[in-house]
């Protein structure tokens, strides 16, 4: 068995790239996050930990069925229970909160219906909030739920995506005319010709992806506090994009930005689940305003399963053509996806399918591509962007097709990839779907993947073991990952989601550096890398840097955490602010020391002589003079020791990254059980700021991807209710069944920023399902069996083997 790996402290990964600052000591180094020590002592502050005076608690009565008309609500008994403060219905909330329609102008033709914080006369999924009960304690509010009398009439539910558009299927929103949310087609031409070539071989398969959900360990939660005295709303929220919520609260409740503050302290996991505006977010705020006291909403686990977004319900018919010699000629996909009854606010539920169209075939040189997408409404929990948004689906389909065709023409899976990926010297390049690729490293990553997993040895062992009826498989997935988005993602579509982020750096009188960033912390280590970047940009030790995030009253305006943009966008803002602050500090030193600026340098927390490195002025002394003894400075000079800079990536719609994953599995062909033996990930996120954080970020994402590939699925009964909406029945990966995961880095910095960082948050989820599915199919190859429906359960494997 493996030995525990060495403590990775201060492993250095920056060395092979040119430095971005004068004295780069922290960027590129595996520095532990000292800031999380408090979390190991139980001293975090998550939303549910916050107590406020007069705090009330809300629980929601949610629709117990997929589709219903509400005919009568009798609330007097609930209202009469001691401790109950109010029982509120949808119309009362709608009187102060405007409805929304989640569409984006650049997703041509996307439509959805107006959605309210709580259902008015109809509820359209099991879990839609209908009635709110506010009480002095959560327990009393839950008691009162049992005293509500609600009568309803069940309506037919639209569940099956395949028949959602049939004329005989009822309409979920009759005013929309059909159950189609969004459709897109793309055709480069040349696809039919490619498949018709005399030297072409084709491979075709249908891929099914089950719905799954995020299961953040801390459920969604918030406290809304409306203060009628100063007419101000404060919302403590477990959320990824505080400024976005500030804007939405302003617009839905007709408030000014100056009236709304959103505070996100510790956030217990997010993964895209906490970047959407949920109906109960608005309902909680409305209740706080109606009752004029703070109201806390904490989803319990059972309601999180039916109210957090779901994701990834797709059925994709797909095919690939290649020459007999192994040149990939064309891809074609037809994607049908179901999103629940509404497009989710404000990012829309059209983006995921759109990404599948953009990304399928993305790593390869082929020029012929045809894709069709249909996004349909259903009476199930709304789906929207979850970690990796479309990536795992596009990657699994692409990579299964590549393996399928390789097997058909008798080519090794890595060899076919080496022959067909866009070469490392061909960038910038444009993918067949039209995506702009700045700089990727598929060839380098494939080489590294082969090396770290000792591919040839694995293959040799595999054939050896087959003779003993042990069936192991090796699965490879090459991937691209969209990161550092520009305004092309949401802004151009009319969504008020900032594409830029800002950083303010302040030198305190004692020489300590305070960094305020619009990108917050949900565990990825954003605050830690901002401290590393700031320390190097200014020239101080990291122990002198503190970081403040997650408060719209305190930080610059910005987009927050999503689409793997925190390091690439937020980090660049910190770097730029730091470089200017360094200059301002030196200008101050010039004024104090009466020495030429050109002879001064900032080095390790002090102003030094540029030639000799002789320490001339400590930052604490500089701060003391600048702040407290301005009388000693020239009258014409004012020290500017607080600097703000913003950064938006504008060179490309997105900065793509890439990587390769290899999965090694053993399939028990009698039980259908899959044992994960080991997993390797080679990733390129441009400049690595802290390799230790990237490693575990990758591993966490890989494990989530494995969850989707093998375990996780929101299962519905025929009437549209969730069958496994609890943690005992909805399986997520645990430590015992997960493999050791080896992570290796290749660095191709983006030239769109000085820092050169690209995102690293989603590549793991993007690649794992494809690598695992390919590994299982590789193990099953001797039986001529294949699986193509995720999660790949033992039952599906046994069916593929013809054993059941």
């Amino acid at each position: 068995m493996n030995h525990p790996t060495e403590i990775p402290t201060r492993r250095d990964l920056g060395a092979d790239l040119p430095a971005v600052t004068e004295d780069q000591r922290h960027i590129g180094v595996a520095i532990p996050r000292e800031g999380v020590r408090r979390l190991t002592q139980g001293r975090g502050q998550f939303v549910d930990d916050i107590e406020l005076p007069r705090l009330a608690h809300v629980v929601f009565w949610r629709s117990p069925v997929a589709h219903m008309r509400i005919t009568r609500i009798e609330r007097s008994a609930a209202q009469a229970l001691p401790g109950v403060i109010a029982v509120v219905v949808g119309a009362e909330i709608a009187a102060i909160c405007k409805p929304w329609v989640a569409t984006l102008a650049h997703l041509a033709g996307i439509k959805s219906a107006p959605q309210y914080p709580m259902a008015l006369e109809r509820a359209t999924w099991q879990g839609e909030p209908v009635i709110a009960i506010v009480a002095e304690t959560r327990a009393v509010a839950e008691d009162a739920l049992g005293l509500l009398e609600v009568e309803w009439e069940s309506l037919p539910a639209v569940l099956d995506t395949e028949t959602a558009l049939d004329p005989a299927t009822p309409l979920i929103h009759p005013e929309l005319g059909d159950n189609l949310c969004f459709t897109r087609s793309l055709d480069t031409g040349g696809v039919d010709e490619a498949f018709a070539r005399p030297d072409a071989v084709a491979f075709e398969e249908t891929y099914v992806f089950g719905r799954h959900t995020g299961v953040t360990l801390e459920p969604r939660c918030q406290i809304a506090d409306w203060n009628p005295g100063d007419q101000k709303l404060t919302v403590y929220h477990s959320f990824q994009a505080p400024h976005m919520m500030q804007d939405l609260y302003c617009r839905q409740f007709e408030l000014q930005e100056s009236q709304v503050r959103v505070v996100c302290r510790d956030v217990g996991g997010s993964f895209g689940i906490k970047v959407h505006a949920y109906p109960d977010d608005f309902a909680t705020v409305a209740l706080a305003m109606l009752l004029q006291r703070p109201v806390k909403f904490v989803a319990d686990r059972l309601e999180s399963f039916v109210s957090d977004i779901h994701a990834r319900e797709h059925r994709i018919r797909a095919r690939i053509a290649a020459t007999k010699a192994g040149e990939i000629l064309a891809f074609e996909i037809d994607d049908l996806t179901g999103i629940g009854p509404f497009s989710m606010f404000p990012r829309t539920s059209g983006i995921e399918g759109n990404q599948v169209v953009n990304l399928t075939g993305g790593p390869y040189k082929h020029k012929a591509y045809r894709a069709k997408l249909k996004v349909v409404f259903q009476n199930k929990v709304p789906t929207c962007q979850y970690r990796g948004v479309g990536h795992p689906i596009a990657c699994a389909v692409t990579e299964a097709l590549v393996d399928g065709i390789a097997a058909k023409i008798g080519m090794d899976p890595i060899a076919i990839r080496e022959a067909n990926v866009i070469p490392d010297d061909a960038y910038p390049a444009t993918g067949a779907s039209g995506i702009k690729l700045e700089i990727l490293s598929h060839e380098a990553c494939l080489r590294e993947a082969k090396r770290v997993c000792d591919y040839d040895a694995l293959r040799a062992e595999q054939s050896q073991l087959r003779k003993q009826n042990v069936y192991r498989g090796i699965g490879v997935a090459t991937l691209i990952e969209l990161t550092n988005p520009s305004a092309a993602f949401y802004g151009v579509g009319g969504a008020r989601i900032a594409s830029q982020d800002g950083a303010t750096l302040r030198l305190e009188p004692t020489g300590v550096l305070t960094v305020m960033s619009s990108v917050g912390e949900q565990g990825q280590g954003a605050e830690a890398i901002f401290a590393q970047i700031a320390a190097d940009a200014v020239g101080v030790g990291i122990d002198r840097v503190r970081v403040v995030t997650g408060d719209t009253d305190a930080t610059p305006y910005g987009g927050g955490t999503w689409a793997s943009r925190g390091a690439g966008i937020g980090g660049e803002a910190v770097l730029q602010a730091g470089l200017v602050l360094r200059e301002n500090i030196l200008a101050t030193a010039e004024a104090i020391l009466q020495r030429e600026r050109s002879g001064l340098k900032l080095h390790r927390g002090a102003v030094v002589d540029a030639r000799t490195n002789e320490r001339l002025l400590d930052l604490a002394e500089l701060g003391r003079i600048a702040y407290f003894r301005s009388d000693t400075l020239p009258k014409t000079f004012t020290p500017e020791l607080m600097v703000t800079r913003h950064y938006a990536q504008r060179d490309y719609p997105f900065i793509f990254t890439n990587g390769v994953q290899v999965s090694h599995v053993e399939v028990d062909v009698d039980t259908g059980f899959v044992k994960l033996l080991k997993h390797w990930a080679v990733e390129d996120c441009g400049r690595v700021i802290n390799p230790m954080l990237v490693d575990e970020q990758m591993r966490g994402a890989i494990v989530q991807g494995i969850g989707g590939a093998l375990f996780e699925e929101c299962l519905y009964s025929e009437d549209g209710t969730l069958r496994n909406g609890n943690m005992a029945d909805y399986l997520v990966p645990m430590a015992g069944e997960m493999p050791d995961i080896v992570v290796s880095h290749v660095q191709s910095p983006t030239r769109s920023s000085q820092l050169g960082a690209k995102g690293a948050g989603e590549a793991g989820t993007a690649g794992a399902p494809g690598a695992v599915m390919n590994a299982i199919n590789d193990a099953l190859a001797p039986f001529g069996a294949r699986v193509s429906s995720q999660p790949i359960t033992p039952e599906k494997i046994l069916r593929a083997l013809g054993k059941i």
């Binding site: 979390l39 008691d143 005293l147 299961v215 360990l217 996991g269 686990r301 575990e696 015992g736």
Partner: protein, 179 residues
């Protein structure tokens, strides 16, 4: 239709992290809610409230329990330890350090429960290998990390223990624990 249960109360006396606490609590109240709401110990978290995720893991008389499955009344007269203890044992302190060193936490929501589970492992299974650590820790969900770093951190503390680092701090025997 349900009617709310009467909520009879009972006086409980629990030693929480070394401090005796006396409170009047509803008999139906779970230990985790008692700790969080009545004792102000917010370190242990709720992830599922149905005994699956392990976020609420605390020690009751030295043995780990799920705070969401034990009633506060059952803890009457007993000792409860959470990760917030201001006098961590050497092993707990070593685990906390190792979690930071190895980046064995991201959001940190699972961490208090993980640490309690890991502490019991280190005390009860000093010879555990990597596979056994993975199995033992499988009662606790982590949704952020890939578990790899958590396993690394626990293995590192086991190694330290085998090298004699905690020799002067004996582990309570299973009998004492139960007594």
């Amino acid at each position: 239709m349900n009617t709310p249960t009467d909520s009879p109360k009972r006086r409980v006396r629990v030693e929480v992290n070394g401090t005796p606490i006396v409170r009047e609590v509803e008999c139906r109240k779970h230990l985790i809610d008692f700790l969080r709401e009545d004792c102000g110990m917010k370190g242990s978290h709720l992830g599922c409230e149905h005994g699956v995720c392990g976020a609420c893991t605390v020690r009751l008389d030295g043995q780990i329990v799920r705070g969401c499955l034990v009633l506060a009344a059952q803890a009457d007269g007993h000792r409860v330890d959470t990760v917030e203890t201001s006098t961590p044992s050497k092993r707990l302190k070593a685990l906390q350090d190792a979690f930071v060193e190895h980046n064995a936490l991201q959001c940190g929501y699972c961490t208090p429960g993980m640490l309690m589970a890991a502490l019991e492992l280190v005390e009860q299974k000093p010879d555990a290998d990597r596979t056994q650590v993975r199995e033992w820790m499988s009662g606790n969900y982590c949704r952020c990390t890939g578990y790899h770093a958590i396993v690394d951190a626990v293995c590192a503390v086991l190694e330290q223990q085998r090298a004699g680092r905690f020799a002067d701090e004996p582990v309570a025997s299973a009998d004492e624990v139960r007594a």
